[in-house]
Symmetry: C2
Subunit: 378 residues, 2 copies
């Protein structure tokens, strides 16, 4: 009974990287969406590109007990190119970009300057780390770019509902595909928006990482959930959601399937967590109905964020999904959307207390942020 | 046999906040430095200031199991004032600043917009957090400003050796005093430098926080040290230092008492950890000789950092000291000095991977950063 919403075409860029086109399927009901609608894009990358050389490694920090990635080849990556040199715009006969062919809807391709790659190698630098303290391993995994529109000046919040829905299908499809990679332990779909948070390309795009390890933040959350399960028999994330829905004090908006709230211990001036009402491990587990209502509430949240001060707010939108193969019942799909902007022109920088000690100091009370977000015109 | 290096005078600002002047003692050998040389400053704050109202609270985040501070009164704090309105310059008959009296050497006073205060109260906002998940407590503790010079345009790296030594004495004295406060669990001396990391006053100054809890980062490190102690019988920090000194690959500089190195799993483009050779809990435990050689190597490190690109680098200098009353044998005094600048004009912002997932991606290999810091003229 599911309707296919997208047609996926795949190809290879000149240096061998994979690329996928997600197009709205206008051919009607094609049955199960996973079968796709057949490959109908057949674009050729006519550039000559040297093969990508990815030197990326992860190192174990024995003091903070987490992995740190060193990707030294990224230092030369493209940095704020002029608008007419944007590598994410469609190719034209005069200028070939990362995306072969003409107009497109949603495109996903492997990052040319990835932090993680199945082809990553440790640099041949003779560095030997003391094995009694450190581990050094290839930065395996994968980094993909997801382009939301061929319109260079679009933003996620101005995409059509149909396009947003297509982005969600792309997140779902790529999460499924990457979770199946032996190198991937956790798939992370996210968008960084705004130069204030280090975005180096202004064309509307997000990223999808397949990490070779479960990230430290997820590990801490899963451990919290494990303890809560042991002591209460209940799921921690579900309890947090129920508590927020019951008090409603920090709820920004909700619909039949999703509730968005400012967390009680928000770290950022404007921080919104969006939970599905059903306990689901990840985006692929959502129903078509949940995806439809996700598209609507997601865009509403972005518009409310911009509406708080009437400016384009810098933000990070981070999808927390279950690890590929472990703790999938403990995890709970949710989005963490936050801005570092505490007032127009004033950014909350992470200074000594946050970066040095992990102690966040938030100038805006979560309840006040929720009030402001509720009052903002979506 | 110890020489008194400083004379401390104390007073109160118009709104009751404490202020301390640290002055070089020129009267010769006065015996134990802790006895001080007597109070010889007697300045009066002639301003009329309303009493400070500090609404600050800490909230327990059950997902990440750490405290988050909400200090909503800070949103109105002084933000990048014009040079002739600097609140840290000496008072003149025409303009009264935070520091009464004329020229000074080093001054410490309670922050007017503190994140933590012994007088902090929870705002009377009727917010009730679900007690099965959250804890809400006053943001007790203390935030002090330490001003390194009365010269508005000075920087730490250009201070005289004598002045640097006086700053160290002030850190020692304030750490001792704050560790003795019943509200304080951990004392944190740090400096944020540069607008890129959110510094709101350009006058050379640092900060000293007395946290009401042991910060999450310190807790993780102490837990790592505890496990290492159990399995090896040795101190983890001492092993890290020994390993770096033995390989020497990432050592930036060292002297008889201190070694500075880029950690093997550095998170930041330029990150330097400075350890004393003796296993000490905190700055008050250092000997006079260790303080003398600290002053020299600390300034050398700041100059090397500026020398890498020949620009004033933004940085965070964070002193990791033992908690006030626990794990004092496990902890190991050290400085973490790091810059977010990866190249001139290019700042490493914390984007999705770092802020969302806790996975740091560093573009500059630690060994290369060490080479660059070693080559930079101090």
């Amino acid at each position: 009974m599911l309707k296919s919403l997208s047609t996926v075409s795949s190809g290879r860029l000149a240096d061998g990287r994979e690329i996928f086109w997600f197009d709205t399927d206008r051919s009607g009901d094609l049955g199960d969406s996973s079968s796709g609608g057949g490959s109908w894009r057949d674009e050729t990358d006519r550039r000559r590109l040297p093969p990508t050389a990815t030197t990326s490694e992860r190192r174990w920090d024995p003091l903070l007990r987490e992995w740190v990635t060193v990707a030294s080849h990224r230092q030369t990556r493209t940095f704020l190119p002029a608008d007419d040199e944007c590598p994410l715009c469609p190719s034209t006969p005069e200028r070939l970009t990362e995306i072969p062919g003409g107009p497109y809807e949603v495109v996903v391709f492997e990052n040319r300057f990835p932090s993680f790659s199945t082809r990553a190698t440790i640099p041949d630098d003779g560095v030997v780390l003391d094995p009694s303290l450190y581990v050094r391993a290839e930065g395996h995994g994968r980094c993909e770019v997801i382009v939301f529109s061929d319109d260079h000046s679009a933003t996620f919040s101005t995409l059509s509902p149909e396009r947003v829905r297509l982005v969600i299908e792309a997140w779902v499809a790529r999460t499924e595909a990457l979770n199946a990679m032996p190198e991937a332990e956790q798939v992370f779909c996210f968008e960084n928006r705004g130069t204030e948070i280090g975005v180096t390309l202004s064309h509307p795009h997000g990223q999808i990482y397949a990490y070779p390890v479960i990230t430290s933040r997820t590990q801490v959350m899963l451990e919290s959930a494990r303890r809560h399960q042991l002591t209460t028999g209940r799921n921690l994330f579900a309890d947090v959601l129920a508590s927020e829905r019951s008090s409603a004090r920090r709820v920004v908006t909700s619909n039949d399937h999703w509730t968005a709230f400012v967390p009680a211990a928000a770290r950022w001036p404007f921080e919104i967590h969006l939970y599905p009402h059903r306990h689901l491990p990840d985006l692929p587990a959502t129903s078509q109905e949940e995806r439809d209502s996700l598209g609507q509430i997601y865009v509403e949240l972005l518009r409310r964020l911009d509406g708080v001060y009437g400016i384009e707010m810098p933000y990070i939108a981070a999808w927390h999904q279950a690890p590929a193969r472990s703790d999938r019942e403990l995890a709970y799909l949710h989005l963490e959307l936050f801005s570092i902007m505490r007032a127009p022109g004033k950014v909350k920088a992470l200074a000594g207390s946050e970066s040095g000690m992990g102690m966040f100091i938030n100038d805006i009370a979560p309840e006040r942020a929720a009030d402001m977000l509720r009052s903002a015109r979506p």
